[in-house]
Subunit: 153 residues, 2 copies
Amino acid sequence: MQKQQPVSPIEAHLGYWLRFVSNQVSHAFSLKLAAQDVTVAEWVVLRELYEKEEVVPSLIADRLGMTRGAISKLVDRLAAKSLVLRRPNEEDRRYQALALTGEGRKLVPELSSLADRNDEEFFGHLAPPERAMVERIMKDIVRRHGMRTVPVD
Amino acid sequence: MQKQQPVSPIEAHLGYWLRFVSNQVSHAFSLKLAAQDVTVAEWVVLRELYEKEEVVPSLIADRLGMTRGAISKLVDRLAAKSLVLRRPNEEDRRYQALALTGEGRKLVPELSSLADRNDEEFFGHLAPPERAMVERIMKDIVRRHGMRTVPVD
DNA sequence: TATTGTTATACTCTATAACTATA
DNA sequence: TATAGTTATAGAGTATAACAATA
């Protein structure tokens, strides 16, 4: 039996606790979305399209930190579910525009209320100053590290 | 053009910011581990085995919230890298014991220092009371929701 | 030649379920 | 029959890179 080197416990890392909670929150949300036959990545794309009217796939890929290939497959699924449309751009035919269908536009507010409910479930008990402090710290870390893309997974 | 229903911005959810930071922290850590040819899931298993001496795969699966099938494949990879051994149990041959090899045992402290460094990078700037508060809040949420498994992904 | 979007390949993880060896 | 571990299949992500169409 070899000697044990001193190794810090995983629970000593703040990143561990963050991932612990974040994974459970995301998982609980994904279960709620699954009841509507939507994945978290799909939800994020639908949410992006809700305000933007028409968006080019490459732009979505940049904003979400996904590859164009990943977006392409994702849009395939959303189109198959009749939630999103691809419209060819006549001026420059390399481009296309993504837009919500009527069905997709109707679905977003429902999914959004699932997100509200999920957040309330996990963080609703926090005192307002606690909540504000966590939010401030997280935003601060995002800013310090120049994080730009919306988290999808 | 249809009327827009009021939809809360994603940034209004604390879960959004948590996932944002947590994903970046985990991603940065996975890059550090990749330099040692190890994934995050593999690291968690190695870390589990470091203290426990010998562990049954089903127990690992339970603790990490993974299926037995997932653990089986994971252990295949770790065994192929000569980091983990499977030892058949002679008393009940349905069981086996997992244990670190010498190489695996040597590697864990190195990976652990990568974890330390990663945590420091993202949370080192926090004032001790801030850090303590975040940690307390996260642990509290874990306790409230009866979360038991170690987060892997 | 550069860019958009698609497609192919490979890899990690997930989940379900069939399968084997053993008890 | 129940359990431990393996294997197969399918699905959702990731990444890289080749590819066709267009500019």
